[in-house]
Structure formats: C-alpha cells, structure tokens
C-alpha cells in the first residue's frame, strides 16, 4: 500500500507543471534576453532573495510559442505576435497580453573601416534585398557587400523586414546569425560586412552605426520617432500578468528598472 502511494506521488511530481511559484521562466527574444533581462533579473533577485530565474533567449518566435504552450511565465518578443500565433493561442485557451517593456531602435552597422557612414532607407532596402550588391553603388569602396541578418525565429529579422525592406525578401546571399552579438562580431571582422542589431549592441568593438535618412538611433530619436527603424519590445503573458510575473514587470517599470533599461541601451517605456 505504501509503495503504491509513493509511486502515485512520484508520478504526480514527475508530471507536475515545470513552472514553480518561486521560479520565473522567461523565454524568447535574443534582443531582450541576451543582456537586458538577465541584468534586470539579477537586480530583482538582489531585492527578492529566494526567487530564481530561467532565461532562454532563442528568438521572439520561441517566446510567443512558450506562452501558448504554457512553458514560460513571460515570453520576450521584439515583435508583435502574428495573427496566426494569436489564433493558435486562442484555440488553446490562452489570451496573449502584451506589455511594452522598452523601446528600441534597430541600428544598421558596418565595419568601422567602411567609408560609408550614411544610407537612405531606400538604399538599406536595396542592399538587404540584393538589388544592390556592391559598395560602390552607395558611395563606398568597390567590393561585394556581405550581408548578415538574424534567423527566421528572430523578431528583429521580422521587424527589419517590415520597417526597412518594405516586407520584401532578404537577398539569397545573406548569412543568418543566431543573435545580435554574433552579427556584430562578424561585421567587425569583415570590411565589406553590413548587418543590423538592437541599440544595446551597437557599441560593439569594430563596428560603426550608419545614419538612416539622416538620423542615428538614440534615446531621443527613438522616443521622437525621427529614427525610422524604431520599435516597441514586449513581454507577453497569458492574461494580465499576475503573481511573480507581475512583480517582476513592476520592477522593470520602477526607477531602478528603468535605470538598468537605459544603461543597457534601450529606451524605458515608462
């Protein structure tokens, strides 16, 4: 009898939900999850001992999917959820609620040795779609352009396509990278390279930021919307945030949280 009860208890524990009350699981965007959210988590833990975090940054699509299938408390996303994702969530009884966690600008970066320092939005589109393949066409030193982009799970990949490329396809020659840091690294090694990163990653060594339509990404140009490639970033929750998730989000909007957001390179939402 005891063995039976013990077996039942063990089985129940094995199938218990993986999300525990004192642990916050956050999955999704590399833009948010590589730097900002880990730093916010550390600061939150310092004020709330006993709370642990599980953070996985494999792309915005994974964050939205994790809320839908119940494997995360917060889904980080640097893009809005698509109608197909909302529909899928709805069929599973999940109500996706977005919270703007910070504003960001997508910086177009080139190798610091590149003579080009400014592009129009049209030229950005032409380069990343493959219409223009040589730096000489945009006033640079002749040479084939090497394009670095994020992969298809990335919210930044989708945002850049919408904001800078008129929703056209990326050039077939573009090389796909897993995260912002990888793009910055490759561009810093390749004099002919061009890529894009969130503002938090534009100060990587060996790269420089191009102005787009005469505007550089900064707190003021993103807030004022004068920089054309600006976007909100999100935390998605199943229904309005509650419990530990709400507590963490409230911390992000607190003065301490806003300070971390600005230090990392984003623009605070509140």
């Amino acid at each position: 009898m005891k063995k039976t009860i013990l077996s039942v208890l063990l089985a129940a524990l094995a199938f218990a939900p993986s999300v525990k009350a004192d642990k916050l699981v956050i999955k999704g965007s590399d833009t948010l999850g590589a730097k900002l959210v880990p730093q916010l988590a550390e600061a939150y833990k310092a004020k709330n001992p006993g709370v642990t975090f599980e953070i996985a940054a494999e792309g915005s699509t994974t964050g939205i999917a994790a809320i839908t299938d119940g494997t995360a408390d917060i889904g980080m996303s640097s893009r809005r959820a698509k109608s197909t994702e909302m529909a899928l969530a709805s069929t599973k009884g999940v109500k996706m609620v977005p919270t703007i966690v910070a504003f960001d600008g997508i910086a177009v970066i080139v190798n610091s040795a590149n003579s080009v320092s400014a592009l129009t939005k049209r030229q950005v589109e032409q380069i990343f779609t493959g219409d223009v393949t040589d730096w000489s066409a945009v006033g640079g030193t002749p040479g084939k352009i090497s394009i670095y982009t994020r992969n298809t799970a990335s919210g930044t990949y989708a945002d850049f396509k919408e904001l800078a490329m008129s929703k056209r396809d990326y050039a077939g020659t573009s090389q796909k990278m897993a995260g912002n840091e990888q793009i910055a690294q490759e561009v810093s090694k390749n004099p002919a390279g061009i890529g894009y990163v969130g503002m938090a990653y534009m100060k990587a060594p060996g790269v420089k930021v191009l102005s787009v339509d005469g505007s550089l990404p900064s707190k003021s140009t993103v807030q004022g919307h004068s920089y054309p490639l600006h976007r909100p970033t999100f935390f998605y929750t199943n229904g309005p945030a509650s419990g530990l998730a709400k507590s963490f989000i409230d911390f992000v909007f607190s003065a301490d949280g806003a300070k971390i957001v600005e230090q990392v390179g984003f623009v605070a939402a509140k």
């Binding site: 699509t61 809005r80 959820a81 109608s83 197909t84 909302m86 529909a87 899928l88 969530a89 709805s90 069929t91 109500k95 996706m96 609620v97 977005p98 919270t99 703007i100 504003f103 493959g130 298809t152 396809d169 050039a171 077939g172 020659t173 919307h225 909100p232 999100f234 939402a269």
Partner: protein, 489 residues
C-alpha cells in the same frame, strides 16, 4: 473604457472592413498613438484585443502547417463545353478508307490548384484536374452518364506537382523547377504543344538579361522531360537470352527510358509601349529507347524498310512510343496596336524542321504507307501564323479576344502525341485554319466559340502518320466546333 470607445468608434466609422483585412487595425491605431489619443501601451492592448477577436473568425483560424510559410494562393477554373467533332478519313487510309465520324458531345473540365510561397526563395504548386479515361493530353471528361452508375471516364489526376527555386544559390538570373510543371518554353501551346500536357522533368530558366539597353531582354530555358519511364525488368537471368535493351524475356519487354530535351533562347525588344517583338529559336530532341535510329525495326521476316535496317522483335508501339524528334524551330510574336481604340494586336508564328523525320518515316512505314528514300525528309516541316486582337487588353468584364490562325503540319514534322488534340483529330499531316472568339461576361465568367478546320496534306500515307505517336487516324478533312462557358475562381 477608452479601449472600448476606440473600438466602437472604428466600427461606427466603417473601418471594420480594414480591421477584418488586417486583423489588428494597425495603421489606425498607429495614427491614434501618434496623435496622443492613445498611449503606446493602450495601442498595443487594443491591437491584441482586436487580433484576438479576429483569430476567433474562420479567416483568423486559418493556419499553415509550416509556421514560416509566407503565402498560399488557391485558384481554379471550370468549363462546360458543347462540341461537334466531324472527321473524314483519307481514301488512302489502311482502315476505314473514306469513312466519316459525326460526333457531338457535352464535356466538362475542372481544375483546382494551390500555389505555395515558402521562405528562402522556394515556391511550389499542386493542381488537380479532371481527365477522361487517362488521356494525357486532355483534361476534359464527358457529361452524359446521367444516372448511370458506372463511368470509367470521370477521373481526377494530379496535373501539376512542382517545386521552384528562384534566385537559386543567390543568383537572381537563375531559376530551377522540378516536377510536373507547366511547359516553360515559348512554344505556341494551343497548336504545337497541347496545353493540357504538363511535362514531368526539370527546367533551368536563365534571365532576364539586358545586355545593351533595358528595352532589349535576353533569356533562355533548358528542359529535360520524361517521355516514358518504363518498368524495368530486374528478374532476368544474366546467363540467358536476358536483358539487353530491346529484347523480350518471358513476354515482358525491357526498355530503356525515353526522354526529351527542349532548349530555347528568348530575345525580345520593346520598341514602344505598344510595339514589342519576341523571337525564340529552339531545339527539341528526343532520346532513349524506341527511337528508330537507336533500335532495329519491324520483324525478322517482315516487310521493313529496304534501306538496310536489320530487325528484331520487341519494338514498342502505341502512344508511348517516343517520336523521332530533332526539331529546330523558331517561335515569334509581335505586339502591335490595332486601329480600333482600346484594342491591341498580336501577330505570332512558328516554324520548325524535324531532322529526325527520315527515321520516323522508316520506322512507321514498315507495314504501311510509302516506302522509299527521303520519305521523311520530304515531310518534315511545320509552321503556323496567326493574328490575335484583344479588346480592353483581353482582361476583365467586357473584354474580348478574336484569334485567327493558319497551320501546316507535315506528316513527320513533329509528334502526334504532343500536338493539340483539338487539331486535325490530334494527328499530323494536316493543314487548315482556326477561328476563335472569347468574350468576358464578368471578371470571372467568359464564353468562347472555337472552329478548327483541316485537310490532309498527303492523301496516301496510310496509317503511317497514325503511328507517329498520335491518335489513330489519317484524315482528309476535320471540322471541330466548340462552344464553352468558362469560369475562374
């Protein structure tokens, strides 16, 4: 409260159709945020609410099996046809000399397809179509079974299954397609190549290049297509009389597969908005089993050609025979203005010479027809010329098209398996004309009247022309009248 007010206001102002189309009312909400009516967070919450509502609708619930599929286009068309098909055989025919066929029937065709757009420059397509009794060059089936319970002619087949890789390997001038696909070359399809025949194989498409000016365009295609993929007999005793190309073992014929290549260059020039010209020279070649110059003919003791061919058994026969094609052809089209306002014209033509004609003639005149030297070479040319007038550019409600064509196909110039089944009974050795008129009643519904008349070129070739991969028959005269009601969706 503000969220509900904004949503109701959008509905009252008649913006619901835009919301339904976009799912989240994006641009409108952006404007309200920009104006300061809503905060960014409020805007996002309204978007999510509206997207959530939309996702509960049938349109919102539509999902793709693959999350990153970029788009799907569903399409189709249906046609009702009344047809009168009268034929008279040549008095020189080996069967049914001088006999006539007077037939009329009601037919239908249904096609339903989907085009898929994937990421990374891939796209694909599938299509189902009706077919009458497995006829490879007709998607028509016959009405008339009424309440009859059995009819083997009401079939559905997959007439398109293909995958295309555009901007292949990052080259914007290279496109690759594999599978059962629409013919990728510029051969005048309604006559020389039956438009119901979608070949199986691979196509490489190059272009467009503009070497001298943007008005001059150069492109090219190279296709290799299956003619017949025979069932190989693997169970042959290697030590016996066994497998060797055309031999027969145990009553089963062993054959190598048959193929066809089509190579073409497209040259076009735009003189003005109303004057454009295209010239497309090309080559069609067949190879593999059953070409006459690849195998022996007739029977060991049969009549055979006296030109020195030896003979063995096991020659395949029927529609699956690959035709002897070494055709050099040129296809051309000139877009012209027309003297009536709001109309345009197209002058088109095609000319071809089959250098494999002699082999075809030798092969098929073994038991029939004319024997002697140079039989095929004297009948190896085809050509057609036509003019088409399009009213209202031929598209949309009220548009119309009138087409007049003269055609000439000598007996060994092409393949009866490929020629339009609605021309000359689907056979070669015919000359004549076609008149066709189409009118669009609405954007989706149109009516067509088509008349084709032909007479034979040679009257005494017997059934040899029938065996050139075409339908059985050798016709002194044919008249085909078709009245169609078409609709697209």
């Amino acid at each position: 409260m503000k969220r509900k007010f904004v949503r109701w206001s959008m509905a009252l102002l008649g913006m619901t159709s835009q919301v339904k189309a976009e799912g989240d009312g994006g641009p409108l909400i952006d404007a309200l945020v920009k104006k300061g009516v809503l905060s960014s967070q409020e805007g996002e919450e309204i978007r999510a609410d509206m997207l959530g509502d939309y996702s509960a609708t049938p349109g919102g619930m539509l999902q793709f099996g693959i999350p990153n599929m970029k788009g799907v286009k569903l399409y189709g068309d249906a046609r009702f046809r009344y047809e009168i098909d009268n034929r008279t055989k040549n008095v020189g025919s080996n069967s049914g000399m001088g006999q006539t066929q007077d037939r009329d029937r009601n037919r239908y065709r249904l096609r339903f397809g989907a085009d898929f757009l994937f990421s990374d420059n891939f796209k694909g397509g599938i299509r189902l179509a009706t077919t009458g009794g497995g006829d490879h060059n007709s998607a028509n089936s016959d009405f008339g079974t009424g309440v009859k319970s059995s009819n083997t002619n009401d079939n559905i087949r997959a007439d398109l299954i293909y995958l295309t890789y555009s901007n292949a390997f990052g080259l914007n001038w290279l496109e690759l397609t594999a599978g059962r696909q629409l013919l990728g070359q510029n051969i005048v399809t309604s006559w020389t190549w039956d438009s119901d025949i979608n070949p199986d194989g691979g196509l490489v498409k190059l272009g467009d290049f503009h070497p001298f000016s943007k008005d001059f365009t150069v492109g090219g295609t190279s296709g290799i297509y299956t003619w017949m993929d025979w069932t190989d007999n693997n169970y042959v005793n290697p030590g016996g009389s066994g497998y060797s190309g055309n031999s027969t073992v145990g009553g089963v014929a062993n054959h190598n597969d048959s193929w066809m290549v089509i190579e073409q260059v497209d040259l076009s020039y735009k003189f003005s908005n109303s004057w454009k010209a295209r010239v497309s020279p090309g080559y069609v070649g067949s190879f593999g089993d059953s070409r006459a110059d690849n195998q022996s003919l007739g029977t060991t003791s049969g009549t055979g050609y006296t030109g020195g061919y030896t003979a063995t058994n096991g020659q395949p026969t029927g529609l699956n025979d690959i035709a002897n094609l070494d055709v050099f052809f040129i296809d051309a089209q000139v877009d012209t203005p027309f003297f009536l306002t709001n109309t345009t014209g197209k002058l088109y033509g095609e000319y071809g010479v089959n250098f494999g004609a002699e082999g075809a003639a030798r092969r098929y005149d073994a038991t029939n027809g004319i024997k002697g030297n140079n039989v095929g070479n004297a009948r190896n040319q085809f050509g057609l010329v036509g003019y088409q007038i399009l009213g209202n550019k031929g598209k949309g409600k009220g548009a119309w098209v009138f087409d007049a064509t003269y055609a000439y196909y000598e007996a060994y110039s092409w393949s009866g398996a490929l020629i339009d089944s609605d021309w000359n009974g689907g056979t070669l050795n015919g000359q004549g004309f076609g008149l066709k008129a189409t009118y669009n009643f609405t954007d989706n519904i149109s009516g067509t009247v088509n008349w084709r008349h032909s007479n034979s070129i040679d009257k005494n070739l017997g059934n040899s022309v029938a065996a050139v991969g075409g339908a059985s028959g050798d016709f002194s005269k044919t008249d085909l009248i078709q009245v169609d009601l078409n609709w697209k969706f």
